[in-house]
């Protein structure tokens, strides 16, 4: 009885949305200290970016090794906007997301014509170019040392403290998941999956392949930019590392480890690669060794990604 209810719930398309909401509501009750909420906030923020990337990689089947570039545009928008242009932070956040989306729209058309590893290297180059601008335009961005970010203020209320950002980022992630779920089940989502399986077949069926790839790219850029803006506002500081190559790789690793094509997998992947380094600090010098080993083992034994692999395992088990 209980089991069948769980299975039905897990089978629902909103299962991942409900799981995220449940975690969001329950975690503060069990978290022993604000430190845990801080980690959870980081997980939510990264998960938001990974969710967008998963729309592109897991559903539309296009790889990007440059998503930290869009993440960085969001982060620097909320830093540079208030500091140099006198734009309020919330408007800078929206402008950053719009700018990232616009850039994706402009660059996307030529880049997305490339396939496989050629697409990977082109997106990698795009990400590097963006992060180089942040490093070199020191007059605007503070150069390699980065710059402080003013707090987000709405009218008389100022968003500060871990608690506040926990709820803002968590709610945004839940909303992002809801949008993604609805998108996947729409004609657009079906077009994404058709392109993922075979571009030729999709084109034959009348899917405008170039257009839908572009839609996925722009969407994922906007998700990343919003997440980047949140991280900058939460940390109160941005540096070019925010937009760096390693961050891009980290996003891809999160998406793949959690499970490509799985909404909840994005959250799990972000959680694993955010929490693990925190846990592994007890190993001091051996931290990287442990992290690398765990990544390899995960990918060998759960190669479809953590969430899809576990889901398949549970389904196979007799009731």
């Amino acid at each position: 009885m209980m089991r069948s209810a769980i299975v039905r719930l897990a089978g629902s398309r909103y299962a991942s949305f409900m799981s995220i909401t449940a975690i969001l509501l329950l975690l503060p009750l069990v978290a022993p200290s604000p430190f845990y909420l801080r980690i959870a906030t980081l997980v939510f923020i990264f998960a938001l970016a990974v969710l967008g990337l998963n729309l592109l990689m897991g559903f539309a089947g296009q790889v990007s090794l440059g998503h930290a570039g869009f993440f960085g545009i969001g982060a620097y928008a909320v830093a540079v906007g208030p500091a140099h242009l006198g734009v309020p932070a919330w408007a800078a956040l929206l402008a950053g997301a719009a700018l990232a989306g616009l850039l994706a729209l402009v660059v996307g058309r030529p880049i997305l014509r490339l396939k496989g590893h050629y697409l990977a290297v082109a997106t990698l180059g795009m990400g590097l170019l963006i992060s180089m601008v942040f490093t070199n335009e020191a007059r605007w961005t503070g150069g390699p040392d980065g710059m402080p970010v003013a707090r987000l203020a709405l009218f008389v209320w100022t968003a500060r403290g871990t608690q506040t950002w926990y709820w803002i980022s968590g709610a945004t992630l839940a909303l992002g998941a809801l949008i993604a779920i609805n998108l996947i089940d729409s004609p657009t989502g079906r077009a994404f999956r058709a392109i993922h399986d075979s571009e030729t077949a999709a084109a034959v069926l009348g899917v405008d392949v170039a257009r839908y790839k572009l839609v996925a790219f722009v969407l994922s850029a906007v998700y990343a930019a919003v997440a980047g803006a949140y991280l900058a506002l939460f940390d109160g500081l941005v540096t070019p590392i925010t937009a760096g190559f390693l961050r891009s790789i980290e996003f891809v690793a999160m998406a793949v480890m959690g499970g490509l094509g799985s909404i909840f997998g994005s959250v799990v992947g972000a959680a694993v690669l955010t929490v693990l380094p925190q846990l592994l600090t007890v190993f001091h010098d051996y931290e990287q060794i442990a992290l690398g080993t765990i990544m390899i083992l995960f990918m060998i034994f759960l190669r479809a990604g953590i969430v899809p692999a576990l889901a398949a395992f549970i389904e196979r088990k007799p009731p």
Partner: protein
């Protein structure tokens, strides 16, 4: 003119190293479809290993050979423990595995060696040679000659030996290669060993010019990958051409345009090339690997 020559030589020197990393990428990719992001770590093992062994009292040539042997052993272990068990996994899963391996190797190097920057004494002294008004380090010439020799040896191996021909057959069509009795898994193993050796030799040659440390691998892997793609992946000639071109772009970009944007110039050109020629400069017709 002396300026031009100076940039040319420094570009070729750096480019030779990118070319070696790119050739390593290409070898492993054509035999197994794996993009090995731990390729830069082989260069690091070559450089750091030689430094540490030489510091422990071994003579430089012995230390270098030992470091290369260590790199080959690491390459074989990487294949046996991380790539082979995930043979049927998707391309992106395999990429994450090699990224994990590169983090792991960096961690091991940080513990086993140390986290400082190191150099090796130049093989032919540090007195630069003057050519047409430009100063050329003897070590740069060694790097270029060494890289050239490696490429020639590789060509000879590929076209004149049984194992080389088996590798070529595997990269052309794995199924057909298996049908005519080639042990393709051995071929993949061999390509990991050769790639590791090439990377490590590059690391030994270049360390007297550009310092080495436990974490130089990431940037080299990135540049090598870009070079391989610029040339057209799966094509050794393309890898060498792409590597040299990338090095030259960086050197001339830094010299004539802006040193802080030298990487930007290189990648702008790469993007431009890929937009015009989506298969890279030397890439053949579209080969869809399924």
């Amino acid at each position: 003119m002396p300026e031009f020559l100076q940039f040319l030589f420094s570009g070729l020197t750096v480019g030779a190293i990118y070319a070696l990393v790119a050739v390593g990428f290409t070898l492993i990719y054509s035999s197994s479809d794996v993009i090995n992001f731990a390729q830069g770590e082989f260069v690091m093992i070559g450089g750091m290993g030689t430094y540490v062994l030489a510091a422990a009292g071994l003579s430089l040539p012995v230390a270098a050979v030992l470091a290369i042997v260590i790199a080959v052993a690491v390459g074989l272990l990487l294949h046996r423990l991380a790539i082979e068990p995930a043979r049927d996994a998707s391309a992106v899963t395999l990429i994450i595995i090699t990224i994990g391996a590169s983090i792991l190797l960096r961690g091991v190097a940080g513990v086993a060696f140390d986290k400082n920057f190191h150099s090796l004494p130049p093989f032919l002294g540090a007195q630069p040679w003057l050519v047409g008004g430009a100063a050329i380090l003897p070590q740069s010439v060694i790097v270029l000659c060494g890289a050239g020799l490696i490429v020639v040896l590789l060509w000879w191996f590929m076209n004149r030996t049984r194992y080389g021909k088996a590798t070529l057959a595997t990269s052309a069509n794995r199924m057909a290669a298996r049908l005519v009795g080639i042990d393709t898994s051995r071929v993949v193993m061999l390509s990991f060993a050769i790639s590791a050796a090439i990377g490590a030799v590059g690391g030994v040659l270049v360390t007297p010019i550009v310092l080495t440390s436990y974490d130089v691998g990431t940037l080299l892997a990135l540049k090598g990958f870009a070079a391989a793609m610029l040339g057209g992946i799966g094509n050794p000639v393309g890898a060498v051409g792409g590597g040299l071109l990338l090095g030259l772009l960086e050197a001339f970009g830094a010299g004539y345009v802006s040193s802080s944007y030298k990487d930007a110039i290189a990648f702008l050109v790469i993007l431009g090339v890929l937009f015009a020629m989506p298969q890279g400069l030397f890439g053949g017709k579209a080969i869809e690997r399924l």
